[in-house]
Symmetry: C2
Subunit: 160 residues, 2 copies
DNA sequence: TACATTTACGTAACTGGTTACACAAAAACA
DNA sequence: TGTTTTTGTGTAACCAGTTACGTAAATGTA
């Protein structure tokens, strides 16, 4: 695999990460399509969260998954349209929309879980001979949490 | 940093990669905006390719960057609109559009390069205490090139 | 209690990628 | 040479996320 992005190492790193995550996204969607599961790749984690905690608001979910709330609104609307989510407004705070799994979702969860487990196996196989990958990915996340690309690069520019 | 995605390890890996690459994308855009550079994050690599090789077609660029050609059409149109790219049709093959850097692009390249260099420094700093990251990222790419998520997961499902 | 601030959510407009389809030009081939 | 296949590009429709803005409810405060 000749690869311009790999050849230019640090310059291509952002693009490679994007490529990899896009590939995962599209391949996961193709997998769901081929197996007839009527879900989108990004719904998975919402199912998991609502299984762990029965009722959550959009804001809570988006914070937990570190995603913007408008992004989460779209996901939730999609899941509602398919009948996987119920919403009810909070008695004490009418702004809040309490989301929970529908009966349909609960019934289908065991089937979903089989496929998710197969996916977990795939990810395990993928990193099994890259023993530092997860730890070092964590390092990167922590570094960016400290100071992001923009801040770091602005600083670096001054030193050039 | 408590993190649901990190806690569930393999199950959250795809999401973490997406988060990281999105963060890089948006932070890079913010950087360009703050410094007044009139370019988009993904144009960088097209500039580099056309600096290395004076004329390239859309298909060649999209293959080099492993991106779909419609995606590249959009990028190229954006760069043309800003006057960074010239196109001329191939004498021998009228379907082909030969792309090259405009004078404006060539004149601005030294300035762009300063900022890209600062960005390279950022990426170096980011991985400097994660000495296996690049190699192991390469591992992952190679594994996916062999067999992608969909194929692997379909296989894994049979073993469950 | 009145007013200012924060919070929760929604919508609009945008970027960035994909697949699916169309079509003409070039190449392969019978 | 005529026909089929491949290639290069373009367009449409879609999904996934963002920022920016608006609004109403809740909260804090003078």
């Amino acid at each position: 695999m000749e690869d311009f992005l790999s050849a230019i190492t640090h310059e291509g790193l952002a693009g490679r990460l994007k490529r990899l995550s896009d590939e995962l996204l599209y391949s996961t969607r193709a997998y769901y399509k081929s197996t007839g599961l009527d879900i989108e790749p990004n719904w998975h984690l919402v199912f998991l969260l609502l299984e762990r905690q029965e009722q959550m608001t959009i804001t809570e979910i988006s914070q937990e998954l570190k995603m913007s709330h408008p992004g989460m609104v779209k996901i939730v609307n999609g899941m509602k349209k398919k009948g996987y989510l119920l919403s009810q407004s909070d008695e004490n705070d009418s702004r809040k929309q309490l989301l929970s799994l529908s009966e349909k979702a609960k019934n289908l969860l065991p089937e979903f879980r089989r496929h998710w487990d197969a996916g977990i196996m795939t990810m395990q196989q993928l990193v099994e001979d890259s023993p530092h990958f997860l730890d070092e990915l964590r390092n990167l996340e922590l570094k960016f949490a400290e100071s992001n690309y923009q801040q770091r690069t602005s600083e670096n520019l001054k030193t050039l």
